[in-house]
């Protein structure tokens, strides 16, 4: 992609993934967004920072993906004006991110939806938690959220949540329906907002990966790796090869664990309880293997800046290797069962459909994107070590329905099993942890293809080993709004199945 007409002079940030950073004005920001979108690129994240103690004013950051990697645009925002140009007309996924920037920092897009997104009333509308001078002791306020009303003959509303009937995260869904058909769905989130970004600023730089791992617990390895990658870029170091291979092993194991869980749950949501029993059995075996090899079922704290906390001895490696062929075989059997089950296929096929054109317009990414013809996978697009040595096969479908998302999960699980095999068989020798000099840079970026999609961590060091600002970004931000489109015309009773087929994070987007 050629940016010469914008006279951009991007600087390349040191680190494991290709990131270019450039300061822009409002007009250039909009121009580049349009150009990137037209050439098939994506919006990855949009967030703000309080810079009044340094350069003065605020900074809006917009992370775009083009062929060459991540393009990070920085727009200085005047402290008196507090507004920035809207980019949600180009990238619809920016809408909620822009609203969150207002809730947390008080910067407003010049046009677009002005309703709060993350703020429900736990802090007043004129207080902004991510400003550096925020003290945070105001009493909560009570506010009604103006949902969009659908009126007409026979239209009624079904409101669900934030406490749901199953074991899932909190969120609110407002359905407008006629009979059993969904006319419109409006999501409202922010219930799980715990102030993660503010919390980062109280942690030591060398410890932030622990909180990153808990942004969305199902993506602990992805987020903690992204955090470590950002920090290692700042410090100008590359972890030992053995550590990188172990990290990839952990990441692929996390992907497999989640896919196994989802494949079972999807069978169950379509009335096939045997699927849940079988897949949850396989997942339990998988987690117990984690326990034996890494000392934990969930790898929340396996990664540390500079490397990994765990290593594998020969016996543990053998144990992990031995578990691969039986699981591969079981998957084959279960895939045949799913494929041949007419009842299941009847529920899967055509449900919650997001055709490729719609996916592209809305910016659907990650696993769900690949099921709708959006061929992006960081392990292939900008393969960092060790993925540059693994030739990852990217899964993909064009149908964009529940069946396609199920098929992509099967394919990715099998590919991850292959990767685990290669990683274990060729694990390089050496240390698993390198030294970490003090950070030299001002901004580090970590970018990892988690099981749900690409997660991004933008990290700025403060004085004396502290964190000045950390923004973790989950792909659920982009994908949640797409579910509002995916359910239109489906029956209400199919919503749990459709929702599960995306399996997005509430905590990861509520922060």
């Amino acid at each position: 992609m050629d940016y010469t007409r914008f006279a951009l002079n991007p600087e390349t940030l040191p680190g494991a993934v290709p990131v270019r950073r450039a300061t822009v004005n409002g007009e250039t920001l909009r121009g580049i967004c349009t150009a990137v979108h037209e050439s098939g690129g994506l919006l990855h994240a949009l967030w703000g920072c309080d810079e009044r103690d340094r350069e003065g004013g605020y900074l809006l950051r917009v992370a775009l993906q083009d062929d060459a990697g991540l393009l990070l645009l920085e727009l200085p925002v005047d402290a008196a004006q507090l507004c920035f140009p809207n980019v949600a007309d180009t990238f619809p996924a920016a809408d909620r991110m822009q609203r969150a920037v207002h809730d947390l920092l008080g910067l407003r897009p010049q046009e677009g939806d002005t309703r709060p997104w993350l703020r429900h009333g736990s802090w007043p509308a004129d207080c902004f938690p991510l400003r550096r001078d925020y003290a945070g002791s105001e009493p909560p306020t009570a506010e009604d959220y103006p949902f969009v009303r659908v009126t007409g003959n026979g239209v009624h509303e079904i409101a669900v949540g934030p406490v749901h009937a199953g074991t899932i995260e909190p969120g609110h869904f407002c359905f407008s329906v006629v009979g059993e058909k969904v006319l419109r769905l409006e999501e409202r989130f922010g219930y799980a907002h715990k102030g993660i970004e503010k919390r980062f600023e109280t942690l030591p730089l060398m410890d932030g990966q622990r909180l990153a791992a808990r942004v969305s617990g199902d993506s602990a390895v992805a987020f903690s790796w992204a955090y470590c990658m950002a920090l290692e870029g700042l410090c100008g170091v590359t972890p030992p090869l053995r550590a990188l291979w172990l990290r990839a092993l952990c990441l692929e194991r996390e992907r497999i664990a989640n896919h196994l869980g989802d494949l079972g749950a999807l069978g169950n949501d379509a009335g096939f309880a045997v699927g849940l029993a079988q897949f949850s059995r396989l997942k339990e075996d998988w987690l117990r293997t984690n326990q034996r090899a890494f000392g934990a079922r969930y790898l929340m704290d396996a990664l540390v800046p500079g490397g990994t906390r765990c290593d594998l001895d020969a016996a543990q490696r053998r144990d992990l290797l031995d578990a691969l062929p039986p699981l591969t075989a079981e998957l084959g059997v279960l895939r045949d069962i799913y494929d041949d089950h007419t009842g299941l296929q009847d529920r899967f096929t055509g449900a919650g459909c997001v055709p490729p054109a719609l996916a592209r317009r809305l910016g659907l990414i990650g696993l769900s994107g690949r099921a709708s013809g959006q061929s992006w996978d960081l392990r292939c697009d900008h393969a960092h070590a060790p993925y540059d040595a693994l030739a990852v096969h990217m899964a993909g479908r064009l149908q964009g329905d529940v069946a396609a998302r199920v098929a992509v999960r099967f394919e990715e699980t099998l590919e991850s099993l292959r990767l685990c095999q290669v990683l274990l068989e060729n694990l390089p020798g050496g240390d698993v942890r390198g030294s970490m000099p003090p950070p030299a840079g001002r901004l580090g970026i970590g970018w990892i293809e988690g099981w749900r999609g690409p997660v991004l961590v933008a990290l700025e060091p403060g004085a004396d080993g502290s964190i000045r600002r950390c923004h973790p970004h989950d792909p659920s931000w982009q994908n949640w709004p797409v579910i509002e489109h995916a359910v239109i015309g489906n029956i209400v009773a199919d919503f749990p199945l459709i929702n599960k087929s995306f399996n997005l994070s509430y905590s990861g987007q509520d922060l």
Partner: protein
């Protein structure tokens, strides 16, 4: 269909024996008896995510897999607080979930119990207290038992739920149940 049946038959029953020693079996029988006395038939659990990272939820799901044979204990998860005896609460309580958690608690009929799950549920965990996080579950509703861990394993969750039945409160509820009174 045939393939499905073959798979079911091939895997067989994999539920792990709940207890092996006579003492443990005695304890389990006693617990089941308690559940029966206090709650009639089963201990019904309603899970509430009050702001967790979703890690604890994954282990609650695991507790329902065939290995743990949860229903064999007379324990099951239900869809409404009005059907529940016990609330299993995860997460630091986000301020945005405080009201919903309180209202869910109120909707559970007496006698009711609360188990706070995970380091976050016990004390706010890594998220602590802040402008958006109220911290521990016990700062918002009364808690009977806490189960630490990040996330706690299914085994730890199960024993946490079972310890509950050995708390002094459970004894007094059982007492009133024995006397045929309305327990409180």
């Amino acid at each position: 269909m045939l393939r499905t049946l073959k798979q079911i038959a091939r895997i067989g029953i994999i539920s792990e024996p709940v207890s092996l020693t006579a003492a443990e079996r005695g304890e389990r029988d006693a617990l089941q008896e308690k559940i029966r006395r206090i709650y009639g038939r089963a201990l019904c659990i309603r899970h509430v995510d009050a702001g967790s990272c979703n890690g604890c939820e994954l282990e609650i799901h695991a507790l329902n897999n065939p290995y743990y044979n949860l229903e064999g204990y007379g324990i099951k998860f239900v869809a409404s607080p009005r059907h529940a005896d016990l609330l299993l609460v995860t997460g630091p309580v986000s301020r945005h979930m405080q009201d919903a958690l309180r209202r869910t608690y109120e909707a559970v009929p007496e006698p009711k119990w609360v188990v706070a799950l995970g380091d976050c549920g016990c004390n706010g965990g890594l998220f602590g207290c802040g402008y958006a996080s109220a911290g521990a579950v016990s700062d918002v509703i009364p808690v009977d038992v806490t189960v630490p861990g990040c996330p706690p394993s299914p085994g730890a969750i199960l024993s946490g739920i079972l310890t509950l039945l050995n708390t002094p409160r459970a004894a007094s509820v059982q007492e009133s149940a024995n006397q045929g009174q309305q327990p409180h």
